[in-house]
């Protein structure tokens, strides 16, 4: 998947970084500061050997007549201190890297969880309007980019920055003029980094885009590979692919050329800077120029040699930082997208009417109970007087003048009024796009109506808490979605506390039992990749069993049996009829045989109800339904 790397202003980038760091520190209030401390501590220790080296060389210079005993003790003493510092540094190193492994992985875990949790609360509209592959890439590409940034780039940058700072002070301590030369060199390096690093990230972004395009194309073609074969369209698709492939090659080649050049360039600028320092140092030494330094020491070989090493270290660190630039840019782009998903506004739910288990007393009054009973009631608190009323759940759904549009100015439903009495079977018939599925989307509030009212057992559905509303509705969709797990797990998805027996009973009721028994492992057969090892019809049967086990008072069947052949459907139908006794059912089907025995058939056209009545009434009326029903004969 392509990562979208938008152009960010500096302020926005640092804002993202600050937010990310805040989050990391809040996840690890102890570990994260300790890790930072260890980095700083370590980089200071790593800069110090230059000081020792300077001292040791000074001692060597001062020694005379090959007499080790005169300076040996002092040198060994200094080396001893160095060893202690090194041991400290190593200990810090070990601890730091272990901490970083824990911090990185757990930060990623928490971010993943936060994204996922937030995603569960997003309105259906988000999923309908965003490319699923794109949503997915938050969890793959963006998280991966972030991993590299947290575990490598940020610590490296912090370490190098501290090193550079400490070195800078040591250098000033030794010699200001030489430091000035180094700083000049570094300024030059920065110019190159900006120029080449900028070019490199520009093309890396382009490369990601080209890769995304190529991926999109390949996915589309390969999804329809059989169509390509049937139409002998192979040559053309190869031609199109080559075009995109060539573009990707250009971009990635340029990006890599820039990135590869940066290393040798900075390395050799470092070398040249080294030479310059040597020459300038040599000139100073020979000309006996007075040194300007915090130490106050005059120029000597014991200053120039360590200085040369520090120059190398200094430029080496800058080189290191430059290698992290791309990772940071990609990481921040990923961070931005991750935060965007985390910040997506939740599905709004102002509902306060709850669904509770109820007991009906002898006098007909309904009260709440915490036990699991087979009867349910709506608990309706009234804010005006603080009283609570209980309305038994019956499954009476009414719509009054409902208007709806997905996009502004494109009304999908206009003035829909209908009622479904408890226990009635209401069918929607009409051409694709007439608005059948939309009506069901409104009843369970996947989308909210623009105008009008929907009442459920007399309660405006906007007042009902969404979770409770949906719990009272069972839906079987045309596109079945099963989850990785056993057949049994998938049926139990309808009611998590259902026993195996209850799940099997539901499967029998929905006509799924027969084929499940014939699967290699029966109910324990693992379903993978949305049940790709089953036929579409078998998947539909399982999804019907899933809703049967949930046993909801209102059911919506949206083309639930469209892929089941008519003979099997007849079997399912019998089971469904058993299941539907006493339930309100909404059925959408294009097969008229499926809807014929409904109490009410509603014919929709372009978002409006044009006919309603029972099968017989509609046939008698000789209207649209009649036309649909007899269409095949009419032509003869």
């Amino acid at each position: 998947m392509a990562v979208n790397v938008p152009r960010e202003t500096k302020a926005k980038r640092s804002g993202l970084l600050i937010r990310l760091l805040k989050l990391v520190f809040s996840f690890f209030p102890v570990m994260a500061p300790v890790a930072v401390f260890l980095i700083v501590f370590n980089s200071i220790i790593r800069s110090i050997p230059s000081l020792f080296m300077q001292n040791i060389i000074q001692l060597i210079e001062e020694s005379s007549n090959q007499d080790w005993s005169s300076v040996g003790g002092k040198i060994l003493g200094m080396v001893g201190v160095l060893v202690i510092l090194y041991i400290l540094s190593l200990a810090a190193d070990v601890v730091f890297y272990q901490l970083m492994a824990i911090i990185t992985q757990n930060t990623l875990k928490k971010l993943r969880q936060k994204m996922f949790e937030n995603m569960q609360r997003l309105p259906i509209k988000y999923f309908d309007t965003n490319d699923h592959g794109d949503i997915m890439s938050h969890y793959t590409n963006d998280i991966d980019a972030l991993r590299q940034m947290i575990s490598q780039s940020l610590p490296q940058i912090l370490m190098s920055a501290t090193c550079v700072l400490v070195l800078f002070f040591i250098m000033i301590y030794f010699s200001v003029p030489l430091t000035a030369v180094v700083v000049l060199g570094v300024v030059l390096m920065t110019v190159f980094i900006r120029k080449i690093g900028g070019g490199s990230s520009k093309y890396f972004v382009r490369q990601q885009r080209s890769l995304g395009r190529l991926e999109g194309f390949a996915e589309e073609i390969m999804n329809g590979q059989k169509v390509v074969k049937v139409f002998c369209h192979e040559e053309e698709s190869i031609k199109d692919f080559d075009r995109l492939n060539g573009r990707l090659f250009n971009d990635s080649n340029r990006a890599n050329k820039y990135a590869n050049t940066l290393g040798p360039l900075l390395y050799n600028i470092g070398n040249i800077l080294y030479v310059i320092i040597a020459i300038v140092g040599g000139i100073f030494l020979i000309s006996g120029m007075p040194n300007l330094s915090l130490k106050g020491a005059a120029f000597s070989i014991s200053i120039v040699v360590p200085f040369l090493n520090m120059t190398k270290q200094f430029t080496g660190n800058i080189n290191q930082v430059s290698h992290q630039i791309n990772a940071v840019i990609m990481g921040l782009a990923g961070t931005k997208r991750i935060f965007e998903l985390m910040d997506q506004p939740h599905e709004v739910d102002d509902g306060y009417v709850r669904l509770v288990n109820s007991v009906e007393a002898a006098d007909g009054s309904v009260t709440e109970t915490s036990e699991r009973t087979s009867s349910w009631a709506w608990k309706h608190p009234h804010s005006a007087d603080g009283s609570v009323t209980y309305t038994p759940l019956k499954g009476d759904v009414r719509m009054f003048d409902v208007d709806f549009e997905y996009e502004e100015g494109k009304p999908v439903l206009k003035g829909i009024s209908l009622y479904a009495k408890p226990g009635q079977k209401v069918a929607f018939v009409g051409a694709t796009g007439a608005g059948k599925t939309t009506i069901t989307n409104l009843i369970n509030r996947f989308y909210d109506i623009a105008d009008g009212k929907i009442r459920y057992d007399g309660i405006n559905i906007n007042k009902i808490k969404k979770d409770d509303l949906r719990r009272s509705l069972g839906i079987v969709l045309q596109d079945t979605n099963l989850f990785t797990g056993t057949v049994m797990d998938n049926i139990r998805y309808g009611r998590l506390d259902a026993t195996d027996e209850e799940c099997m009973a539901a499967a029998r009721l929905s006509g799924a039992d027969d084929f499940i028994q014939r699967l290699p492992d029966g109910y324990s057969t693992m379903l993978l990749e949305n049940g790709s090892n089953l036929s579409q019809g078998q998947r539909q049967l399982i999804s019907i069993a899933r809703v049967a086990v949930a046993d909801p008072p209102v059911m919506i069947l949206d083309e639930a049996t469209s892929s089941i052949d008519t003979r099997t459907e007849a079997i399912v139908q019998r089971g469904m009829d058993a299941l539907m006794v006493g339930r309100t059912v909404f059925v959408i089907a294009h097969r008229l045989s499926t809807v014929k025995n409904s109490d009410v058939i509603i014919v929709l056209d372009h978002g409006q109800i044009i006919e309603r009545g029972s099968h017989q009434e509609l046939i008698d009326a000789r209207g649209q339904y009649y036309q649909l029903y007899t269409g095949a004969f009419e032509l003869e």
Binding site: P49, I60, S63, Q66, I75, V79, L82, L90, D93, Q98, Q113, F116, Q120, H132, M136, E219, E220, M222, N223, G224, K226, V227, K229, F231, C232, I238, F241, N245, K257, N260, T261, L265, N268, I272, I279, G281, I283, L285, V305, L308, D467, R470, R471, I475, L477, N481, S535, G537, S543, R546, A550, T566, E569, H590, S593, K596, I619, A632, F633, E634
Partner: protein, 591 residues
Amino acid sequence: MLKTLAKSIREYKKPALLTPVFVIIEVILDCIIPFIIAELVNVIKDGGDLNDILKSGAVLAVMAVLSLIFGICAAHTCSDAACGFAKNLRADMFARIQSFSFENIDRFTTSSLVTRLTTDVTYIQDAYMMIIRTAIRSPLMLIFAFIMAFIMGGSMAWIFVFVVPVLGGGLFLIIKKAMPRFRSVFKKYDRLNASIQENIKGIRVVKSFVREDYENKKFGAAASDIARDFTIAERIVSLDAPLMQFCLYAVMVLNLTVGSYMIVTTGGTRFDVGQLSAFLTYGFMMLNSLMMLSMIFVMITLADESCKRVCEVLREEPTLSSPESPLYEVKDGSVEFRGVSFKYSKKAKRNALEHIELKIRSGETIGIIGGTGSSKSSLVQLIPRLYDVTEGSVFVGGEDVRSYDLDTLRNSVAVVLQKNLLFSGTIKENLRWGNKEASDEELIAACKMACADEFIDSFPDGYDTHIEQGGANVSGGQKQRLCIARALLKKPKIIIFDDSTSAVDTKTDAKIRAALKRYIPETTKIIIAQRTASVEDADRIIVMENGRISAIGSHEQLLGSSEIYRGIYISQNKSSVDESLAENMVKEGAD
């Protein structure tokens, strides 16, 4: 495996060979530089005059510039080589996929192919770049630095003989311990991502069953599990940086002690201050190249998996292809099955089709009906040779389908697939898949036949309306009608509809069939349908059950003779005898 991949290097062989040459020169220069620096330091130390300093300085500067030039050359050639190799790999894979037969296609999922084409190739590209550049640079650097250290420091260089194996051995152990863990975590990671995908796709189910919290818990557990495993693996790998530091420190300390001892005791004759600092540089070079080597090793092992996956595609032989000297003309639209048995894969236990004997005359209209899994689609897919028969033969126009050129055959036998797709592009572009040269008039004529003309005209952009990927912005019925029009544009001798009007309303369905009858009477029409209404007017109807032909005959004949057919008909048309009577009345009323 490498041989298979190497075939894709082709025109990028030159930069791939040049890169190591540049790299070798760069490494030699880089290794000499500290040597000259040591000279320079000594010149400075000994208070040599400015000329000497400038001389060594100039040599150094020239070498740095040379190293830079070769470095940049290597940077460019290795990028050319790696990106070019990746480009060819992608092109080869895609071309190979295009040559796949249906059987090949069935073996791979689209998403796995896409991953191979993108992520896997990127891994290989990076590893390849590493190999031709860094994998050559690092060992060379190690060796040269070692040689230089020996030339310069003599016995001092023995320090490295001890330290280098410590680092090498340590890194080896770390990698050996960590790699299997990483591999298993990556597998889990793939599964986690698959379950996220599942959740996104099935969000309507999640929400309608109010399972958000359940899903959160499930995901949380899986994510924690992975974080735990990842942390363990990463913690092992995290030991390598401290190990590297340890070796570096050891070199520093040993150098400083032994070095200063040698300088002092020999009065700087065998070893001097300049060499001491150069020596440290060599030490750093060696250790650093070892570190790089270990990183390369990890990258190569990771890329190894990608190589395997890419090779799987490149080595997949198309299971069917055109014969040596093929026929380029299909005489007529007759079809014959002779003793045909078929199974989807050699491993399958059961045949999908069993002993099929069938003759279809050119221009006949054939309906095929049967329950789910009765192999209706399998039967028709043998006609345009989308699969090859396991036994027996299929004849089209009097010739075995295996004797035709594949394009010729498939252009004469059009199939409207059950799982049909439109591609992103305008309606016109999509229709022209059927015939590149079709004129606008021909497009309109085909759409009229498929009853698509009407709704296309109702779109503001008409035939130039942009279709989104998979045809997401047209309804199911509209999509099917466009697919039919697309197939009609081929002007085929045989046209097969594999349940291709299931989302079209009955009236339009009948209209399309009537148009076919009227406008392309000579074309053989084979219609697979769920509804008996869609096949009632066919010349003959084939009833399929369990991979066999259970009955053949006209609607009326089958109503009498085939129990299955009658069963299907009744389930669709009459729920009870009473209703059937009522329905007959309705029928009469309509007539």
